[in-house]
């Protein structure tokens, strides 16, 4: 795996890399080079399978971290390609021309995080949330409890007990 990372570093700018297991490693690359690197990995290095594609919201740094997990069926090695993009007006290049199923992920991230993928098929159609007009709900600054209380008629009387205190009071009432 280390050899592969060195080979990528010679061709493309890699800002960060880590070998987490003998068969798994991670690289962080700049946003502009991502599609180039994925194309090269798919066509030259036989990373033919996009296993998953996730987004993490780093609110404090004002960034989204996108992870493209690739798998090589010949050597059974995993390579996670990470890219950091700005939270404000988040836009990313679509990769649906490389892996067709990526457009489903991209639809979901458009809906849940508000990341735009121009050119991706059906990216503006609602997928899980029908008729949603609030802010994207997976963003960490979205207060889901407040939204729920304003929208869904909470039933009064919900209490929370600390289990330790509650059981102590229940089992040993003379001590408390």
């Amino acid at each position: 795996m280390q050899r592969l990372i060195e080979e990528i570093s010679q061709r493309y700018p890699v800002t960060d890399s880590k070998v987490s297991r003998p068969d798994q490693s991670w690289i962080t690359v700049p946003k502009e080079k991502l599609v180039d690197i994925l194309t090269w990995l798919k066509s030259q290095k036989e990373f033919t399978h996009l296993a998953f594609f996730t987004v993490v919201d780093y609110l404090e740094q004002g960034k989204f971290q996108l992870t493209y997990m690739l798998h090589n069926y010949k050597t059974h090695k995993d390579l996670g390609v990470r890219v950091l993009i700005d939270r404000e007006n988040a836009t990313m290049e679509s990769i649906h021309h490389l892996w067709e199923h990526a457009h489903t992920f991209q639809r979901e991230w458009r809906e849940m995080f508000g990341i735009d993928f121009p050119g991706s098929p059906r990216v503006h159609e609602p997928m899980i949330l029908e008729g949603w007009d609030g802010p994207p709900p997976y963003r960490r600054d979205f207060d889901t409890k407040k939204y729920s209380e304003e929208t869904y008629f909470p039933r009064p009387g919900r209490e929370t007990h600390d289990p330790r205190e509650h059981m102590k009071k229940k089992l040993y009432p003379e001590e408390s």
């Binding site: 029908e130 949603w132 409890k145 209380e149 008629f153 909470p154 009387g157």
Partner: protein, 213 residues
């Protein structure tokens, strides 16, 4: 007699073709639901007895609680001996079992299925999620109280309730029907505006036929 000879479709131009089509067939009921009047004390008592002993529920797994409906039909629990049977369509069923949490996307289908059911119709809310949201109480996309959207006759608490609890809930519903207290459909018709206002608050795009919307 019939002087107007119909042209074959191939020879018509586009205007004639449009004119020859039937205009706007109404394929669904546009009337508001009406409360039904009782047919006299003794007749209604007899009907309630009959209704209580053939509860056909809609087999529409709306949430994860629907897994508890399957064992009801197996040899161990065998609800057919109580006159309870699952039906595949809302038109044939009289009990709607809401199995657990209902997201906004599901509540849309629930409302539509409930309105398609023929009266008298009853609703059983299964699991904590229908009562106060359960473990999804602070979720952005699941409702908290089912009785704000459709009238509920019996709630079965639990996460998930066992099939025995479900049978007990059905027994409770039978008791309510025999006493003439399960008037959810009439309540829905009388407070239609209130229910619709609550539904419209969360359902922003109604992408199905304009069914009383």
């Amino acid at each position: 007699m019939d002087e107007e000879i119909k042209k074959p479709y191939e020879e018509m131009d586009i205007d004639e073709l449009i004119k020859s089509q039937p205009t706007d067939p109404v394929l669904y009921c546009q009337d508001l639901p009406k409360p039904s009047k009782p047919l006299g004390i003794y007749m209604e008592k007899f009907l309630n007895w009959a209704r209580a002993n053939s509860l056909w529920f809609l087999g529409f797994g709306t949430g994860c609680g629907a897994v508890e409906l399957r064992p009801l039909m197996t040899a161990r629990f065998d609800v057919y001996r109580y006159g309870i049977a699952g039906r595949p369509t809302p038109r044939q069923s009289s009990v709607f079992v809401i199995g657990g949490y209902a997201s906004v996307k599901t509540i849309k289908r629930i409302v539509r299925s409930y309105e398609q059911m023929q009266g008298p119709k009853f609703v059983i809310g299964l699991g904590s999620c229908t009562i106060n949201g359960g473990m999804y109480w602070d979720s952005y996309n699941t409702i908290n109280r089912l009785d704000h959207y459709i009238p509920v006759d019996v709630y079965i608490a639990g996460c998930m309730p066992r099939p025995e609890a479900l049978i007990a809930g059905f027994e409770k519903l039978k008791q309510l029907i025999k006493e003439g207290k399960a008037e959810g459909a009439n309540h829905y018709a009388e407070n239609f505006e209130w229910y619709k206002a609550n539904q419209k608050k969360i359902i922003k795009d109604w992408n199905m036929p304009d069914y009383n919307w």
